[in-house]
């Protein structure tokens, strides 16, 4: 009967896609401030506050406006329904229901508040202490575990046996029992707050444990405290009513909601209306408390579902049907050749994230998509597979592959291509694998599905794939779970998984960023040998120019949703034409040996513009040393003069002059490397 007092899961509203595509720095979950605005933005929250406020005011002022005293019996109007004299009817003794309900309200609300205060204060205090000190956590957690596995109602009844129906005391003891559940909820949050780096910084400052708890942990808990208080308030009221129902309510003259429902239950045969008023008021009050709790608890959900809803998938199919799915004018690329032309990706009905991106990937070659965070390289890569997050979609251009335009393909068509033609490996291999199933299960399931073979054959194929990716004891690994293997090995497994359908194109989204550099080297060697052996092509998304130099035949440098330069890797890295690429290379410490490591690295003033601030002209203009008036107009991607290279800069020719030299100059807060024409004479 005690409803579940463990964390009532906050209703998670589906996140907007914009939240998912913000640059790394802004993506962290917003801090939980008690925002009254959030409460008043939700209609449920407002209604809840209004009802509770009205109830409190009405019950506190009861003695002045109640039409009848609670004990006034009117035998002429027994068990009547709503009448002019008795708005909500009367009970079996002719007492006015309206008066009794509101007379009982004050006591109920007040004593429920006791439960809330005792439970929340005790639970939060214990959680903060436990989070602050590791040793005490074990002891406190064990005690609360015992408390949580007690049959609460039974214990409370036994307590009533000992102390009588002293409602405030009973509710206080209920609060103690409930504090165990609160502790659990708070502990998780308190611990996560304790593990934040600013707590470490405070410790380095020499702030005491108590100081940290009060100054850094407690403020972060306030939102949860308020939410849990609202929920516990509701629980307290229900329990009180239940106890009163079975006869353990306040002593006889005092009315109680539970007692009134008990009385009503006796007359459910002859006067069923009696059940309604008290039940309605009780339910509305509980609803109000829950609504307030839910409104405040709606944490901004930064996660986005990786599986678009059925509605979204149907929408994609409809849009695809409307768009052209056959290649337009221009050379249709050969089989196994990927051609992206003018691709744009954006938030549905909103900001663009990628504009006018074009590149080609021939079979057996590796293309690098390189840029800093927020440049749109990941979105571009995911659009090749149709795996953009919910709320983001391709808004224009073409992705030509084997005679189809993937940007306009239906979900069904993409399902036929994923795994079999185009495969994916992601950045965090441990998270990319399902933690609940063995490596063997995941691998064989994929092989069976993609190659349509039986179990035994799939098993043999899985073994051979694992060996192909360089895993020595493949047999043992097949039986392990993802959490039991290292990051490097997990990435090999992920590569094997990607290869299970014998794809012609592999999309690799920063596959080595999360790995140690020696492991990265091994994975890159593996990828090279796979490309050589199978002839498949790779689109490699990375922020590391060294990785580009190692494995990529061609590279496209991206900045603020555009390709600013593309061409053969050797040309781009040895002789960059775009100022951004120039600056990136000069900012990279890896570009130097110890002998010629500069005193200061090149920096670019300003920051990457957010999608909503993109200018119509060159997007790098605001930060570029060489910007001129010609840069304010939209800049197309034009041949750079070296092989098939393209560059998006009106000054590219000027900068291509041989013999430029960089000199460190003084700028107040950062160094800018200035290009100075060397005296050729």
């Amino acid at each position: 009967m005690i409803p579940n007092v463990a964390p009532a899961p906050a209703d998670s509203a589906p996140a907007t896609a914009a939240a998912a595509v913000q640059p790394k720095s802004g993506q962290r979950a917003a801090f939980s401030k008690i925002s009254a605005s959030r409460l008043f933005a939700s209609p449920g929250g407002v209604a809840g506050v209004v009802w509770l406020a009205a109830l409190v005011v009405a019950s506190l002022t009861a003695q002045w406006w109640l039409p009848y005293k609670t004990e006034d019996q009117d035998f002429t109007a027994v068990l009547s329904g709503p009448t002019a004299a008795h708005w909500l009817g009367t009970d079996e003794l002719g007492r006015d229901l309206l008066s009794r309900i509101f007379a009982a309200a004050a006591g109920t609300l007040g004593t429920s508040l006791i439960t809330v205060i005792v439970g929340v204060v005790l639970g939060t205090a214990l959680a903060m202490v436990a989070a602050g000190r590791g040793q005490t956590e074990g002891g406190i957690s064990r005690v609360t575990e015992v408390m949580m596995s007690l049959p609460g109602t039974v214990i409370i009844l036994a307590v009533i046996g000992a102390v009588g129906t002293n409602i405030p005391l009973i509710m206080a003891i209920l609060g103690v029992l409930i504090s165990a559940g609160i502790y659990r909820v708070m502990l998780g949050q308190a611990k996560s707050l304790q593990s934040q780096l600013y707590v470490d910084a405070a410790k380095v400052d020499g702030v005491s444990t108590l100081g940290i708890s009060l100054r850094h942990v407690l403020p972060g808990l306030t939102n949860t405290i308020v939410v849990q208080s609202a929920l516990i308030f509701a629980v307290g009221m229900l329990i009180q009513a239940g106890l009163a129902f079975i006869g353990f309510g306040p002593p006889i003259p005092q009315p109680s909601w539970g007692g009134m429902i008990q009385g009503a239950s006796q007359h459910v045969y002859d006067a069923p209306w009696l059940m309604v008023p008290t039940g309605a008021v009780l339910a509305l009050t509980v609803l109000a408390a829950n609504a307030i709790g839910n409104a405040l608890g709606k944490a901004p959900n930064t996660g986005v579902s990786h599986l678009p809803s059925a509605a979204a998938r149907r929408q994609r199919s409809v849009a695809a049907g409307a768009a052209a799915s056959v290649a337009e004018a221009g050379a249709i690329p050969a089989k196994g050749h990927l051609s992206v032309r003018g691709l744009s990706v954006g938030v549905d009905g909103g900001t663009p994230l990628v504009t006018d991106v074009s590149f080609d990937v021939g079979p057996g070659t590796v293309l690098g998509l390189v840029g800093e965070s927020g440049c749109g390289k990941t979105m571009t890569a995911l659009s090749l597979l149709g795996l953009l997050p919910a709320g983001v979609s391709a808004t224009g251009g073409q992705i030509l592959w084997n005679g189809k335009n993937l940007a306009a393909a239906t979900e069904r068509e993409m399902e036929g291509i994923r795994g079999r033609d185009i495969a994916l490996i992601s950045q965090e291999p441990m998270r990319a694998l399902d933690p609940m199933f063995t490596v063997g299960y995941q691998l064989t399931a994929a092989i069976r599905r993609l190659r349509k073979v039986g179990k035994a054959e799939a098993h043999a194929e899985a073994l051979s794939l694992l060996e192909k990716v360089g895993i020595v004891d493949a047999k043992r690994i097949l039986k392990t779970y993802p959490h039991q293997i290292s990051g490097g090995m997990a990435q090999r497994v992920a590569i094997a998984l990607a290869l299970s359908g014998r794809p012609r194109l592999l999309v690799a989204d920063e596959p080595t960023t999360a790995l140690d550099v020696t492991v990265q080297a091994e994975i890159l060697s593996l990828l090279r040998s796979l490309v050589k052996d199978t002839g498949m092509s790779v689109v490699m998304v990375t922020h590391d120019l060294g990785v580009v130099a190692d494995i990529c035949d061609n590279v496209a440098v991206m900045y603020a949703g555009q390709v600013v330069e593309s061409g053969r890797t050797a040309n781009i890295l040895d002789n960059p034409r775009h100022p951004y690429t120039l600056a990136l290379l000069a900012a990279d410490p890896h570009a130097n040996t110890a002998a010629d490591m500069p005193e200061r690295l090149a920096t670019i003033s300003g920051q990457v513009p957010q999608p909503k601030d993109w200018p119509t002209g060159c997007r790098f203009m605001a930060r570029c040393q060489f910007a001129g008036s010609a840069c304010a107009a939209p800049v197309p991607l034009l041949p750079s003069g070296s092989e098939d290279g393209l560059v998006r800069c009106v000054k590219a020719d000027e900068l291509a002059v041989e013999g430029l030299e960089w000199l460190a100059t003084e700028v107040p807060t950062h160094r800018v490397l200035k290009i100075v024409e060397k005296d050729l004479a």
Binding site: A6, P9, V146, V154, I261, V286, L307, P435, A446, Y481
Partner: protein, 313 residues
């Protein structure tokens, strides 16, 4: 794994012991000595003292406790002060009633709750909002109120289910089921709502995990992603939620038994507390705890078994 089971068993035993001590102390704090209670009002001082002396009421608390503990471990929970019957025999008869009620309510809550939660998470949109609204309402209405309405609808207006009473399984399985129907459904309304909320939240969280994208990238059919992979990932918190629900439902049966006149443990608690029947109170509190702790232990082990991180270690 064996170490884990042992630790959990010890915790369970410790819990029961703590509750036994607690019950013992509470019982001694109750007004009225056993003599006064059993002999009723109007008994003479000497008669009361004689009964108390016989029961060892004035002995030191510690020895009384150990005496009770020793008896309890052998299965003897004393005799009721009110009707003189063996407490263990009485509770033994009552246990199947409450057990059927709590188990039935938990199972029904789980089935309904998981079903509703999964559809809300998977289909989203209108279905999600409707389920959310229903659950919100179900949680706000007190169980006893819902029970009375059900009685009104199903037993008074129509005679589908009996309003009160319990028929043991051995007597007639069919009647047993019918007598349990209304109480189980009543309790399951609130239980299902909580489990539905938990399920929905866990499923949504599961779908945000990165391995879902890998599954899509390997052309896994959508139904498999939802009902095999996402549900499996969500199963841990869901089972934990069901375990918590059982504890709550066990207490909820106190109300239900009162309402539907079922001779279970809940009824025993109510009567023994109001009549200050010390041994009965002590006995029923301990028995209730043992049942709850045992079921909790089983469900906890099930949760841990579902978790590969613990199973494989």
């Amino acid at each position: 794994m064996a170490l884990f089971i042992t630790k959990r068993l010890l915790m369970a035993l410790a819990t029961v012991l703590v509750v036994a001590v607690l019950a013992f102390l509470l019982v001694h704090a109750m007004p009225g000595s056993p003599g006064a209670v059993s002999l009723g009002a109007g008994a003479s001082r000497e008669a009361i003292d004689e009964v108390n002396g016989r029961l060892g009421w004035n002995d030191p608390l510690l020895s009384q406790f150990f005496r009770w503990l020793g008896d309890a471990v052998q299965g003897n929970l004393g005799t009721s002060l009110i009707d003189g019957r063996s407490v263990s025999a009485d509770l033994g008869n009552r246990l199947p009633v409450t057990a059927s009620l709590a188990a039935g309510a938990t199972v029904l809550s789980a089935i309904l709750g998981i079903g509703l939660g999964v559809s809300a998470a998977v289909r989203g949109g209108l279905v999600d909002r409707i389920v959310g609204g229903i659950c919100g309402l179900a949680v706000a209405l007190p169980a006893f109120w819902i029970g009375i309405i059900f009685v009104y609808l199903f037993a008074v207006q129509s005679s589908v289910f009996p309003a009160t009473g319990y028929v043991p399984f051995e007597v007639s399985p069919q009647d047993w089921g019918m007598s349990l129907a209304l109480p189980v459904i009543t309790l399951a309304v609130g239980g299902a709502a909580f489990i539905a909320r938990q399920t929905r939240a866990s499923m949504l969280e599961a779908l945000q995990q990165e391995h879902i994208r890998t599954l899509r990238a390997t052309a896994t059919p959508t139904w498999k992603i939802l009902y095999i992979h996402a549900l499996r990932y969500a199963s841990l918190p869901i089972v934990a939620g069901i375990a918590l629900q059982f504890i709550g439902l066990f207490g909820g049966s106190v109300i239900a038994e009162q309402l539907f006149a079922m001779p279970g443990l809940g009824q025993a608690v109510q009567t023994s507390v109001s009549t200050h029947d010390a041994p009965a109170v002590q006995g029923v509190v301990v028995i209730a705890t043992v049942v709850v702790v045992a079921v909790n232990l089983v469900l906890e082990l099930a949760t841990k078994f579902l978790d590969p991180k613990l199973r494989a270690s």
